[in-house]
């Protein structure tokens, strides 16, 4: 069922996706042309070497972007991984006299193994803890490299001969491109490696892997509940990133022909972070721009005249930006005074100093501060802001979006007699507090079952117990399945999701920086059969799967009424639509049981009507629904059966109408008039 796409965002004209795609292709062509021609135009070997180093750094930073940009973690250990790659290659030569190609293989392999090692302590931590873990890791690597002298030659370092890229003597012939060409073999090898890295990273981030990385940054809890294991994908991210760092390290060793322990320390790791942030995260151009900046910056800073010229240019640019902001009366024009003032002050400072080299690190530090506060999306992000046509249409770039197939797989069920879900004597205790004090619940298939109760009655606790976020202190949760009954208590949220139980959250847990379509695609993760190599190589199987799942995801979006908004980032959707998207994402799991946690909270009346209609459609498709709600009208209108909780006990159960009239329920909600009488006479 083909559908034409109506653009939802007026500022992104319909041609935008294709322009961004062409911009990407154009950039790639330009890059290849530039790299191919460069050494023939600029023949100085110094500059050729500079480009080699930029390319090598770019390879590493593209890998770093996966961890920093996509999974959103700060890694302070990448210089250490770089060092591992370099030393793997150097040690192979030192002890076994093995050359460049073996070095590259070892670099990738050994560093990937270290990536797994690093991932282990990094699994359960995040934020500053993760940063410290990576920093400790990097420091340990440096220490071991320094101390294991028999292996690494310690502080003296290892010297390597010129790299032998292609050995024509093996074939009994001369190099077709002559002696001059031979010198460039390493250069072209590095360029090829860079281009290969760009392709690989591109493929990975546009695959389910890339989506999983972003998902685990935006909401680890939702990830687990959608069946995407946070641990597993964190490991993948670290390993891929480490592999690229290892490749870069091995190339670096053979490029510089010397490795020493103190080159791979904290300073370098911070430079890498500066590069990825300044260039622009989540892009391919960003890391390359960032690499160029950090490699060329020391050279620029060494030349004081050049520094003064650049400072002058920066000051002039700042004046222009400031003047424009004030003339156009932009909102934040006063906030801009500080950075503009700093840029202006920089110029006279450079006039006063004779040499800036000693203050190189201060300059880097100031650049970091500047980027963190005023350029958080980097240069690439800034350019995209300013030129809306260049904004990427994410992983759904310009490909036709049409829905295909049924949104929901039909569930066998109907209003059967046997219960679908049985909860027996669920007890949930937190210290002395009994959030659930032995609750029984039976949910029949094909029904909408309401769970209500005043604040603190245990509804959300029950929800979390059912979906594996809490392990119940006692009691059992059993799900009836075709192959037999399955115990759910004690299982992880991932396992429960895989068993056919999906949920939405009280506070919306969407993957905010991903589009609506991508959010649903994450829900469809369970149906992807390909592995990482399929993704990297772009096999036909991978492409077919991607097409099919996109079509299915569009069908689901149509089902919840979000078809036209498929390309909009989740955080830009109106609140009511966000709630519907969460439901759509949950439906992608092909659940037999859907748990909705206060889906109507904060919705306006028309949104609520839309929501109720969709919930009915879901039930009609055979999916059983458990609904926690405070909006009584919603509950009364939808639910076949209602259970009422109070203080962790079930106090009533029955049809919606019966429960509404039950005096115990009224008392639970409104409080007891009887006690009130007594206090009035006290």
């Amino acid at each position: 069922m083909a559908q034409t796409l109506a653009p939802a965002d007026a500022s992104a004209p319909a041609s935008a996706p294709s322009l961004s795609r062409y911009a990407g292709l154009l950039g790639a062509v330009l890059l290849v042309a530039f790299l191919a021609a460069f050494p023939h135009v600029v023949t100085s070997s110094y500059y050729v070497h500079l480009v080699i180093v930029i390319a090598i750094y770019a390879i590493l930073i593209l890998g770093l972007d996966i961890v920093v940009g996509y999974t959103g973690q700060v890694s302070l250990g990448h210089a250490g991984l770089f060092g591992v790659g370099a030393y793997a290659a150097a040690v192979l030569f030192l002890h076994f006299k093995l050359g460049l190609w073996w070095g590259i293989l070892a670099g990738i392999g050994v560093t990937s193994a270290f990536g797994v090692l690093l991932a282990v302590p990094a699994l359960r931590v995040t934020g500053p803890y993760l940063a410290m873990v990576t920093l400790a890791f990097g420091t340990i690597i440096q220490i071991f490299i320094n101390e294991l002298t028999p292996l690494t030659n310690g502080p003296l370092g290892i010297t390597l001969p010129p790299a032998r890229v292609l050995d024509f003597s093996l074939l009994g012939m001369q190099a077709p491109w002559g002696a001059a060409g031979r010198k460039l073999e390493f250069y072209y090898l590095t360029c090829a490696a860079l281009l290969a890295t760009i392709v690989v990273v591109n493929r990975v981030v546009r695959s389910p892997f890339g989506r999983a990385f972003e998902a685990l940054r935006d909401s680890p809890i939702a990830c687990d509940c959608m069946g995407v294991s946070v641990y597993r994908y964190k490991v993948y991210a670290f390993v891929i990133s480490a592999a690229l760092a290892g490749l870069a390290g091995a190339l670096f060793a053979w490029s510089e022909r010397y490795v020493a322990p103190n080159s791979y320390g904290f300073e370098l790791t911070v430079l890498f972070l500066l590069a990825v942030t300044m260039g622009g995260r989540k892009s391919r151009a960003g890391p390359i721009i960032g690499a160029a900046i950090i490699v060329m910056m020391p050279n620029v800073l060494a030349d004081i005249e050049l520094v003064r010229i650049m400072a002058g240019i920066i000051a002039a640019a700042a004046l222009v930006v400031g003047a424009m902001a004030f003339l156009r009366r932009r909102e934040n024009r006063f906030a801009l005074l500080v950075p503009i003032g700093l840029c202006l002050a920089f110029f006279p400072a450079t006039l006063a100093l004779q040499s800036v080299t000693d203050f190189r690190l201060t300059v880097f530090g100031l650049m970091i501060l500047f980027v963190v506060y005023y350029l958080p999306d980097g240069i690439v992000g800034f350019v995209r802001e300013v030129i809306p046509a260049l904004r990427p249409a994410h992983t759904a770039e310009g490909k036709s979006l049409h829905a295909e197939g049924a949104a929901l797989s039909a569930q066998s069920g109907g209003a059967g007699a046997d219960p679908l879900l049985t909860v027996e004597q669920a007890l949930m205790q937190f210290g002395g507090l009994k959030a659930l004090a032995g609750v029984d619940l039976t949910v029949r298939p094909g029904t909408i079952h309401g769970l209500i109760g005043p604040n603190g009655s245990g509804k959300s606790t029950m929800m979390n117990v059912l979906t594996g976020i809490y392990k119940p202190t006692a009691g059992s949760v059993t799900l009836a399945r075709a192959g037999g009954a399955k115990r759910l208590d004690g299982r992880t949220p991932s396992e429960i999701a895989a068993s056919g139980v999906a949920r939405t959250f009280q506070n919306v847990q969407l993957f905010r920086e991903m589009t609506a379509l991508e959010n649903v695609l994450v829900g469809l993760h369970h149906s992807f059969r390909g592995n990482l190599f399929d993704a990297i190589l772009g096999t036909p199987r991978r492409r077919r799967e991607e097409r099919e799942q996109r079509a299915r995801a569009m069908a689901i979006l149509d089902f919840v009424g979000l078809g036209p908004l498929a390309q909009v980032e989740a955080r830009n959707l109106p609140y009511g639509k966000q709630r519907l998207l969460e439901i759509g994402r949950a439906l992608a799991l092909d659940p037999v049981l859907l748990l909705l946690d206060e889906p109507a909270a904060g919705l306006t009346a028309p949104d609520i009507a839309e929501l109720t209609a969709i919930i009915r459609k879901i039930r009609d498709a055979g999916i059983t629904v458990i609904l926690i709600e405070h909006h009584m009208d919603v509950v009364m209108g939808l639910c076949d059966r209602v259970s009422v909780l109070d203080f962790g006990h079930k106090i009533a159960e029955g049809s919606a109408r019966a429960v509404q009239e039950d005096p115990k329920v009224i008392e639970a909600y409104l409080g007891s008039p009887v006690a009130d009488e007594e206090t009035a006479h006290a």
Partner: protein
């Protein structure tokens, strides 16, 4: 045996330094859920600033000035590095910003005091003395006493003075503290000031027994973070235990294995603890609320 006891005694002294720095991490993390990745540079700057003052006014008079210096430094870090990031709710922001400030401070220090390590004159005799049959350096005793005294002083401040209680209240529940009329922003700045002050003080305590220079703080700060993790970023006493464990493990490793590997036990301990118990040994497990 005598050597073992001597090593343990040295380890205790080193451990107290770690505890003192870790104490600073706890303070800012408790009130603002952030910490200063440039804490090591605060320590180094404190030591270098003290070194400059000592020839003029001597060791003991230098201490209060270094405390004031550290206090001011902390406020600067908070204002420039932490506050803007917290306002835009960017974790990446304050991590990178405090790292950047640390780099800037280190670079400035290198330019002002040079890149070589300097000798800090010791206020106490540098020959070992016998205490309960163990040979210790008098300076090591001063380190232990000084660190304990400082942590005690902050604890007393927290318990007795109204602003100290405000700091504890902010750590417990920042919203409720605001309802009490407590200016929680000022409390956060105060906690950063106290944190940098303790780091600077640790700097002048440890400087006489080690080499003083712009780079002296970096690895110390990282290991102190290990101690803070082991102790749990919310608990007070745990850092002392953590510091002692780490300090003694280090001196023993340094002697029995090799000085090059001295720093390794702390770092490995950090990795192991975070792998097994992400909230630290003494931390409280957080109940997820969805």
């Amino acid at each position: 045996m005598a050597i073992l006891l001597q090593l343990i005694a040295s380890g205790v002294a080193v451990g107290m330094i770690y505890a003192a720095i870790a104490f600073g991490y706890q303070l800012t993390f408790a009130t603002s859920k952030t910490l200063n990745f440039g804490q090591g540079e605060a320590l180094a700057l404190g030591a270098l600033f003290g070194l400059t003052l000592v020839p003029f006014i001597g060791y003991w008079l230098m201490i209060p000035l270094v405390l004031v210096f550290g206090f001011a430094l902390g406020a600067v870090v908070e204002r420039l590095g932490v506050r803007p990031a917290v306002k835009i709710k960017s974790e990446y922001g304050w991590i990178m910003a405090t790292i950047a400030l640390g780099i800037i401070f280190k670079n400035v220090a290198e330019n002002v005091w040079g890149r070589d390590d300097l000798k800090f004159p010791s206020p106490l005799p540098e020959t070992a003395i016998q205490v309960a049959g163990i040979r210790v350096l008098p300076m090591e005793l001063l380190i232990v006493a000084g660190a304990l005294l400082m942590m005690l002083a902050v604890e007393i401040f927290n318990r007795k003075s109204i602003w100290g209680k405000a700091v504890v209240a902010t750590s417990n529940d920042i919203d409720a503290a605001g309802l009490m009329g407590i200016n929680t922003q000022r409390v956060i700045t105060l906690s950063y000031s106290i944190s940098a002050m303790t780091a600077a003080f640790a700097g002048v305590l440890v400087a006489p027994v080690t080499l003083t220079g712009a780079t002296m703080g970096a690895v110390l700060a990282l290991k102190a973070f290990a101690v803070a993790i082991i102790g749990g970023l919310e608990s007070g006493l745990g850092v002392i235990v953590g510091g002692l464990i780490l300090g003694v493990a280090e001196t023993l490793t340094g002697f029995y294995i090799s000085t090059g590997y001295k720093d390794v036990p702390g770092l490995i301990l950090l990795l192991v603890v975070l792998s097994l118990r992400p909230v630290g040994l003494f931390g409280k497990a957080v109940i997820k609320k969805v």
